[in-house]
């Protein structure tokens, strides 16, 4: 067993590799009514071409199949796993991203029973032709719902502009057309490839005994022949964006703009390092205390919902920033003009310390919400990031690091933007 501690927070993370090859972690949390557990596969929408175990030729599967599989895994021979969770008064859910699929539940009594259900249904697929056909109608409505959401459209138009061939350019849910091609056999093949225990991670946070729970989980994740997926095929992505501008009209009251800065070279630095440095730079350049933000706000180019963050996975990453605006082209111009301005002025030492302090406060705040802890953990684990690493990186980072990062990442050649304009305007 491996134990990581953060003495200032008074938190500890217990972890071990199970005999099945899966990894399991527990963060004990006293005083909360709720316990929370997740079971995740390193399998997302970008895993659309691969060599299944035992096969020699690669296959290409319909877009949206990882998400479809997530829906279908709840189906059981004699009912639905969601009903079993409800029977013990637990809340269950699941989500699929570009690079992972996570199943989760929270309970305030009968947590062990919930762990049983979680581990059981994820390891016991029951795909039927009827189930697959039924799911198509439901997911079609999920896709249509997202088509009506301007923020989602702006985001997917942006990834399509940023990336030439990498599948992160396609929506996680696929399209109404692509999901129609999904069959039971394809689901079986994806499951056999990506739901091997060695490709999975269990995490729990709550008022539990970590050693006992880890031993309990170990007994319930069955070893399987084979190993983690070895034949994932990602196309070779050129460094720059595919297009620099995308726009579309929709029913919105005002234009929406998202600007993306593509990570051309993922480099030797770890994901967390890039994320922390970029986050501090975004606060410095575009944050609420920056002169830039004050000016754009006063002119109506940004409002209080303007946001900026770093996003990425195993082999893709980008900075994304934007929001509603009065003038998408002008806002894009001013976002880019800021690159040179900050390069010229350098990273102000007072602002740097202040923003580092803010980031430290946000790190502390994360530990107040069990679901936020779980999401942060799961998001990090497949990128090689552990929960308490953030404190260390925040303490280590220097102004020189930020200036180097500024020169490397904030370059106009890597920028693409996506605008949603009011229909009829």
């Amino acid at each position: 067993m491996h134990i990581e501690r953060d003495p200032v927070l008074g938190e500890a993370l217990y972890g071990r590799r199970l005999r099945s090859g899966a990894r399991a972690y527990v963060l004990p949390k006293r005083g909360f009514a709720k316990s929370f557990a997740t079971f995740s596969a390193r399998y997302g929408s970008i895993d659309r071409a691969f060599v299944p175990p035992g096969a020699s030729e690669p296959v290409e599967v319909p877009d949206g199949i990882a998400h479809f599989l997530e829906h279908q895994l709840f189906e059981e021979e004699d009912g639905n796993a969601a009903d079993r969770f409800a029977a013990i008064g637990a809340d269950d859910n699941a989500f699929t991203t570009f690079a992972q699929t996570t199943y989760l539940f929270s309970a305030s009594e009968g947590f062990r029973a919930g762990v049983d259900i979680l581990l059981d249904f994820v390891q016991r697929p029951h795909f039927t032709e009827r189930g697959v056909e039924k799911e198509k109608g439901i997911i079609e409505q999920e896709i249509r719902m997202r088509l009506d959401d301007p923020g989602t459209r702006a985001f997917y138009n942006l990834t399509r502009a940023l990336f030439h061939v990498h599948p992160v350019r396609l929506p996680v849910e696929g399209s109404v057309e692509s999901i129609r091609a999904i069959t039971r056999d394809l689901l079986e093949s994806c499951y056999a490839t990506f739901y091997h225990p060695a490709n999975m991670v269990f995490f729990a946070v709550g008022d539990v005994d970590p050693e006992e729970l880890l031993a309990y989980v170990d007994e319930r994740v069955a070893p399987r022949p084979g190993g983690p997926p070895s034949g994932r095929i990602y196309p070779q992505e050129p460094p720059g964006p595919a297009r620099t501008w995308a726009e579309e009209r929709a029913i919105v009251a005002r234009p929406v703009l998202l600007v993306g800065i593509k990570e051309g070279d993922l480099g030797a630095e770890g994901y967390l390092r890039r994320e922390v440095e970029t986050g501090l730079l975004l606060d410095l350049m575009y944050g609420r205390s920056s002169p830039w933000f004050a000016r754009q706000y006063a002119e109506g180019l940004v409002d209080d919902r303007f946001s900026a963050y770093y996003f990425g996975g195993p082999d893709f990453a980008a900075t994304i920033l934007g929001g509603e605006t009065s003038d998408p082209r002008e806002l894009r111009r001013r976002i880019e003009a800021r690159f040179d301005e900050v390069r010229r002025d350098g990273v102000d030492p007072v602002a740097f310390e202040r923003l580092r302090r803010k980031a430290m406060g946000e790190f502390v705040a994360l530990f107040d919400a069990p679901e936020a802890i779980a999401h942060a953990f799961v998001d990090g684990i497949f990128k090689g990031v552990s929960l308490f690493d953030l404190r260390r990186v925040l303490e280590e980072v220097t102004r020189d690091d930020l200036e180097r990062r500024l020169r490397r990442h904030f370059v106009p050649e890597m920028v693409a933007a996506s605008a949603i304009l009011p229909a009829g305007a």
């Binding site: 009514a33 969601a82 409800a86 009506d148 029913i251 919105v252």
Partner: protein
């Protein structure tokens, strides 16, 4: 969680929830106003106050000061609670022990909250003219932007139709006309009037010694709040029986999915002894994934990604929402009405009842896991004379039988059916 109440100078009610389970201390401040015409003017107040204080008049300076308080999170907003509009302010700041700071961190956060509410940035004419002008624009964008989220827009339109002519029809942020011609001097008068006359509740959730915090809060807020004479809004209105209008309202827009929103009367509101039983009935009908709506509209008929119901306890009302294919309007409506009828008829399996009670128990318990739900739970429930602590709420829930839940559902009647559909859809409004 240990609860205590304190009365401070200036008619401030302080409520303290003492707990050491959170690493961030939370403070909330609410000003109570009647909801109605002019809500847009009062909604503007928190947005302008949020921009700067006398000590930090520029927004960027105030933001930098918050960053120095370890990223203290400040917010100022307007929320709707029944026939009231609450101007809601808050600050959340890490507990000093987790960031290597001393008690001055908490004091500075509390003082910042006080400055935002009582000591805003001003110019010669009152609240800063540039902030007033910018926030009028921003509030207009927020109000007009409701159309961006089609599900939210459908709910908004349903409430407009179903509650037409009553205070509850007033949206949270009021209407653009409320403030279109409002000037700096007038908004300053609105602000001063609110400060002098609105009931003020202050909440603290965190690891405090309550008596010490009360002394500190009196020191911080006392001088600013002195001499206030808050209006008594009286107890909130209890919803009476209303006659269903039986109307169907159809709006058309270039959308990809139809949004169905149904408004129903339940006849049972907050504070009614049958409210817990009604909550169980709603859970059986459509509160959760195991509920009748999700099971029948989504899992059996494959018509929707979501289909839920929820109660509006301040109005004795319930809302059902689903996102569906345009052509499925009548079919979805039939299935939904059949589920409502099934609950009223008592066509409910023991298993459905058990699951609902268990999941509701879970939700009551986890309401103590976040400062926001602790505070809003107390605010809402104490206003309507209901017990707010988890133990009492669990006792109330455990006393509900399946028969009582079915009995509570007898008053449910559909009032308005709203459908947002695409332009060329063939649905016609019978009304």
């Amino acid at each position: 969680m240990e609860f205590s109440e304190h009365t401070l100078p200036g008619g401030i009610h302080l409520r303290v929830f003492r707990t050491d389970k959170f690493k961030v201390d939370a403070f909330r401040l609410f000003l109570h106003l009647p909801l109605g015409d002019g809500a847009g003017r009062t909604a503007l107040v928190p947005l302008v106050l949020r921009r700067g204080t006398r000590r930090h008049p520029e927004s960027a300076e105030l933001a930098a000061a918050l960053e120095n308080l370890y990223g203290a999170d400040l917010y100022a907003d307007a929320v709707k609670l029944g026939e009231r509009q609450l101007l809601a302010f808050g600050i959340e700041v890490p507990h000093p022990r987790y960031v290597g700071a001393g008690p001055e961190l908490t004091r500075a956060a509390l003082a910042t909250l006080r400055d935002v509410v009582f000591d805003p940035a001003r110019d010669a004419g009152g609240l800063r003219a540039d902030y007033v002008a910018q926030e009028k624009e921003n509030l207009r964008h927020v109000i007009e932007g409701i159309v961006n989220d089609k599900g939210q827009y459908a709910m908004h339109r349903l409430v407009q139709e179903m509650f037409a002519g009553t205070p509850f029809a007033t949206p949270r942020y009021g209407r653009v006309e409320d403030f279109a011609d409002l000037g700096q001097a007038e908004l300053t008068r609105v602000y001063e009037d609110v400060l002098a006359r609105a009931r003020l509740d202050l909440y603290a959730v965190g690891d405090f010694v309550p008596e010490e915090l009360a002394v500190e809060a009196a020191r911080v807020f006392g001088p600013a709040a002195e001499g206030r004479t808050p209006d008594d809004l009286g107890p909130p209105a209890r919803p009476g029986r209303r006659t269903p209008s039986g109307r169907t309202v159809v709006d058309r827009m270039a959308v990809n999915q139809g949004k169905l929103a149904i408004g129903l009367w339940t006849g049972i509101g907050f504070g009614d002894p049958r409210f817990s039983a009604l909550s169980v009935a709603n859970g059986i009908l459509g509160g959760f994934a195991h509920s009748k709506l999700h099971q029948n509209v989504r899992e059996r008929a494959s018509l929707a990604y979501y289909a839920y119901s929820r109660l509006e306890g301040t109005q004795g009302a319930a809302f059902i929402t689903a996102g569906i294919e345009f052509a499925d309007f009548e079919r979805a409506l039939d299935i939904i009405q059949a589920q409502v009828e099934a609950v009223r008829r008592g066509d409910v399996a023991e298993e459905e009842f058990d699951r609902t009670v268990r999941v509701l128990r879970h939700h009551i318990r986890l309401s103590e896991d976040s400062p926001a739900t602790v505070v809003l739970g107390h605010l809402e429930r104490s206003l309507y004379g209901m017990p707010f602590d988890a133990a009492s709420r669990l006792r109330e829930l455990d006393a509900v039988t399946l028969e009582a839940a079915v009995e509570a559902a007898q008053g449910i009647e559909t009032d308005t059916v709203y459908f947002l559909t695409r332009q060329e859809s063939a649905v016609t409004s019978p009304a």
